[in-house]
């Protein structure tokens, strides 16, 4: 289907309102239009919102134009030739691009007033969609009567926490549901068809060809036994877009377009030979190969490092803007949605609780759930440090709890690739951590932060360097010394789903360290478990339950309770909240800060998420390729980063581009 990118700014709104806006207040419409430039062709321009837009237009406009809405720019140039209203608008004295961009709405307005059929269709129109899964425990209604629209050339974000039904909604559109899932009601109109009524065979001509999917986890979403090139070429072959002979070179070209460096070589490689970011690019290549009109991106970057995430999203945005492809972006990260989408649809418990233009939703959330989501999104809130209780600097003569000196850890790489090589995972790292304080190790995957923590805990032996715990050198501690360290230093793991023994009851989980160190008797251990549960705000009734019966947040609380059982001096938290939903994240971070204030425990806090670190850490060490590139207090580091890499990390925090407060570090310009 060919389709001019310019003529699609239609809306699902009452036409009259819009026309009124347009006709009655030219000035407002212009500013509104600028808002439109940025936020995309908004769906619901009521007079009301238009006025609020009018109140603060300049910022929006510049902000959004800077982010580079290529479509708009192209659209604009096209319209200059076709639409006579351009001239009128140009007289308002706006810059050429802005003015032309403004025209999009008048064009639509005109079209709408002219045309008798007011409802010029959106590209995708979901109405009353309900999806349920059959499980052993009965039918679970995952999606309840969801309405959703996606316009051509726009990014619509579906935001919600895990279990909100956002992913199910996205998959239900092309009926890519699990075998036990089914659509109960609703229509999914795409172009002229209702996808819910198509036969499987007809649907296959839509999938891949007209609707592309960028899946969630690039590490498992490519077939491990097929070459990258084949997997891209397959789309072309299935839809008859290339011959057996032409497909391989076409695939290379598409991979190149998707931003995969050295595409010809990569095309001959297997997925496991590529990094996560490169694999996601390959999957984007699969999605765009047949030049679809709509791309459904299901958490496309959640599994990737923050800087990689940014580059990938930038590229996806660039590609879709260039081709006028619509995007349905599913994400749990409001920051990502704020940066990328023109419209946001907020889902909770299978329902859409709020939908509208991004700015409206973010600045004027109507639903309590949206407000809660906004409040807990770490990347969107400005600094809200929790770690204030013990913020006073330690006395200079105080013996640090942990002191790591020039730690080095080398791993032997497999000799298969030629001569035996070593990987220096940790390279001359020195750290100091005082009692009652939190030191955050920040870095991307592979930066050596987890290995550093394992060295401090003496779970691995350093190649060189030393570790002092409470003034005593424990680098070579064996037997009783090492056991003493185990007692005083505990660990909270990243994945609360895997770190609790599924066969233990919660009581057994929490008292295990006590049993291991023969602390107290049965009764006193149980009392301690109750006390700890109370401390992490879980009811005593969970003592007899199994981990599987608890939610992720509850499990992480149990893991924290277990870590605190022996009243340790140090708790190493290895990405303790990255597997949790944002609102749960906020609760767990609050809990950690509170426990520190009460017990004076020190945290070595490992995270790739700077936004999280900002809330909890006193000091931060930024790691890259095994080295500490910058250390400083959290405040210093976030407001005055010295190292380029730190700045890069800060800039990559999603949501940064939306933040209007001036306390953000500078944002590098998007490519246009």
């Amino acid at each position: 289907m060919t389709r001019p990118t310019t003529n699609e700014p239609e809306t699902d709104v009452p036409v009259t309102e819009e026309s009124v806006t347009h006709e009655s207040a030219t000035d407002q419409t212009v500013t509104r239009g600028q808002g439109v430039t940025g936020q995309g062709v908004t769906g619901r321009p009521t007079t009301d919102t238009a006025t609020t837009k009018g109140a603060a237009p300049a910022e929006t406009t510049t902000d959004r134009t800077a982010t580079g809405n290529a479509t708009t720019a192209e659209a604009a140039t096209d319209e200059v030739a076709t639409d006579k209203s351009t001239t009128d608008k140009a007289t308002t004295g706006e810059s050429a691009i802005d003015a032309a961009a403004t025209d999009r709405r008048p064009t639509a307005g005109a079209a709408l007033t002219d045309a008798a059929s007011a409802d010029e269709p959106a590209l995708l129109e979901v109405r009353g969609l309900s999806v349920s899964y059959r499980t052993r425990g009965g039918t679970v209604r995952a999606v309840r009567s969801v309405d959703l629209d996606v316009w051509p050339g726009q990014v619509t974000a579906v935001v919600g926490e895990s279990g909100s039904g956002k992913s199910t909604t996205a998959h239900a559109i092309t009926r890519l549901l699990a075998a036990n899932g089914g659509i109960d009601a609703g229509i999914v109109r795409f172009g002229r068809h209702d996808l819910t009524t198509l036969s499987e065979r007809e649907l296959r001509t839509v999938r891949g060809a007209r609707i592309g999917l960028v899946p969630q986890d690039p590490t498992v979403s490519l077939n491990p036994v097929k070459r990258i090139g084949e997997q891209v070429a397959e789309v072309l072959r299935i839809h008859g877009l290339a011959t057996r002979r032409s497909a391989p070179s076409a695939a290379v070209a598409i991979l190149d377009q998707a931003g995969l460096p050295d595409a010809a070589t990569r095309a001959r490689q297997y997925p496991h030979e590529l990094s996560g970011g490169m694999r996601q690019r390959a999957l984007i290549a699969v999605a765009i190969a047949a030049k679809p009109q709509l791309i459904i991106a299901d958490e496309p970057t959640s599994a990737l490092d923050v800087t990689v995430q940014r580059v990938i999203l930038d590229h996806l945005q660039h590609l879709t803007e260039e081709s006028g492809t619509a995007v349905l972006l599913v994400t749990h990260d409001l920051g990502v949605a704020a940066d990328r989408a023109q419209r946001i649809v907020v889902m909770s418990e299978g329902r859409v609780v709020e939908a509208g233009p991004t700015r409206d939703v973010l600045e004027n959330p109507q639903h309590a759930y949206t407000r809660r989501l906004l409040a807990s999104a770490p990347s969107l809130t400005t600094a809200r440090p929790r770690a204030t209780a013990a913020a006073t600097a330690p006395a200079p003569d105080e013996v640090p709890l942990v002191e790591a000196r020039n730690l080095v850890k080398e791993f032997r790489l497999p000799a298969a690739a030629g001569a035996a090589r070593t990987l220096r995972a940790v390279d001359d790292v020195s750290l100091t951590l005082h009692r009652g304080r939190t030191l955050a190790l920040v870095g991307e995957s592979g930066s050596g932060k987890s290995t550093t923590a394992r060295l401090v805990l003496r779970l691995v032996d350093p190649t060189s360097g030393s570790v002092l715990f409470d003034g005593a050198d424990v680098t070579t501690a064996r037997g009783a010394g090492a056991r003493q360290l185990r007692r005083r230093a505990q660990l909270v793991y990243q994945n609360p789903y895997a770190s609790l023994d599924p066969r233990f009851s919660i009581g057994e989980v929490i008292t295990e360290p006590l049993r291991a160190f023969r602390v107290g008797d049965r009764a006193s251990r149980l009392a301690r478990a109750r006390e700890l549960l109370d401390r992490v705000a879980l009811p005593g009734s969970v003592l007899d339950r199994r981990p599987a019966e608890l939610s992720g947040g509850q499990r992480q609380r149990v893991a924290i309770a277990r870590a605190l059982a022996l009243s340790p001096d140090l708790v190493v938290c290895d990405e303790p909240v990255s597997a949790l939903d944002v609102s749960v994240q906020a609760q767990v971070l609050d809990l950690l800060a509170e426990l520190q204030a009460d017990t004076g425990v020190a945290y070595l806090f490992i995270s790739h998420d700077l936004a999280v670190v900002r809330q909890i850490a006193h000091r931060v060490a930024v790691m890259r390729s095994g080295r500490v590139v910058e250390t400083g207090t959290a405040e210093e580091l976030f407001t005055r980063p010295r190292h380029d890499y730190t700045r890069e990390l800060l800039a990559a925090i999603p949501g940064g581009r939306h933040a209007s407060a001036g306390d953000r570090p500078h944002q590098p310009k998007e490519h246009l």
Partner: protein, 319 residues
């Protein structure tokens, strides 16, 4: 890679040696005396001259201490000489070589049938959307595994030889004679292949890359054949490697039931008369087939799954 093959060959030699040694010890421990059995078979009255027996024992080396016997036999076995059959006097290697072609035909045909029928059944079971058909297909493999081979053979003979006269009931009569024994031998083997493959196919179809393939617009059959099958084939391939040894064992029963000449019947006969050199030859040969089949399977893995070479070496765990 080359180092890997050398290592595996060294392992294979170790397995062969172990097979030889264990069978030697077991056969030595068994009650009965091959020489008296052999001599007794020759004489009508059962009265055998003790001097004659002693001479025979000496000839076969049975009068030496057990360790000396072992060293002696092992030394010759390494050179490919397993001695002569006690019952026929022919060299063991010649006896085996004569019987081998028939058995290779049988087991080869059975293996092909097993892989294709078993594999086909597994793919069909995952392909069909009809619940009852899937259930039916999936209930066949456990049935095939649990039914005794000789019973399957007898039923087939009854149906296809005695009633319809489609295939001969016994003998080594060319291709037609091969059909019933091969099918009989393929039933338990194919059932195992089908069971393992179906299970791993269902697992593979749950993987995220299958969803990617569906999102590409790939059809059900394409997803199964081009995406899931290759990923699912590794466990099935492992089973096939293990089955190679089992096929040799199965040929003992099948060749007896269908009165076919071959390794199986040679084995059965050798065991009955305690023909120790021949039994040892069969054991070592069986071990050889088993080791070779598994080596081939292991060498095929990397061709099916490019990750395997990497996974074979020690993993590095940074940060």
């Amino acid at each position: 890679m080359r180092l890997y093959v050398v290592k595996r060959l060294a392992q294979a030699l170790g397995v062969l040696w172990a097979a030889y040694t264990v069978s030697f010890l077991v056969l030595d421990y068994l009650p009965g005396d091959p020489v008296s059995a052999m001599a007794g078979a020759g004489a009508d009255t059962g009265q055998v001259d003790p001097a004659q027996l002693a001479a025979l024992r000496h000839e076969y080396g049975f009068d030496k201490p057990i360790l000396a016997q072992y060293a002696d036999y092992l030394g010759r076995a390494v050179r490919g000489d397993f001695g002569d059959s006690v019952s026929t006097g022919r060299p063991v290697t010649a006896t085996l070589a004569d019987a081998l072609p028939q058995t290779l035909q049988l087991t080869g045909a059975a293996l092909l049938l097993a892989v294709f029928l078993g594999g086909g059944l597994a793919v069909l079971a995952t392909y069909t959307t009809r619940r009852w058909l899937r259930q039916l297909l999936l209930s066949l493999p456990p049935l095939g595994v649990s039914v005794p081979t000789f019973w399957v053979g007898l039923v087939l003979v009854e149906l296809f030889s005695f009633r319809t006269r489609l295939f001969p009931a016994f003998g080594n009569d060319g291709l037609r004679g091969l059909v019933l024994p091969a099918v009989t031998l393929a039933v338990p083997t194919g059932a195992l292949v089908a069971q393992v493959l179906a299970k791993s196919l269902f697992t593979a179809l749950d993987q995220a890359y299958v969803e990617t393939a569906r999102a590409k617009g790939a059809g059900r059959l394409r997803i199964r054949l081009r995406h899931a099958l290759r990923n699912a084939s590794l466990p099935a391939l492992t089973v096939v490697g293990l089955l190679a040894g089992q096929l040799i064992a199965g040929s003992v029963v099948v060749e007896t039931v269908f009165s076919r000449d071959g390794l199986g019947r040679v084995t059965a006969a050798a065991v009955t008369v305690q023909d120790i050199p021949l039994v040892q030859g069969v054991v070592v040969f069986g071990a050889l087939i088993f080791v070779a089949a598994n080596l081939i399977v292991d060498l095929v893995y990397p061709l099916l799954d490019p990750r395997i070479v990497v996974a074979a070496s020690r993993k590095v765990r940074p940060a």
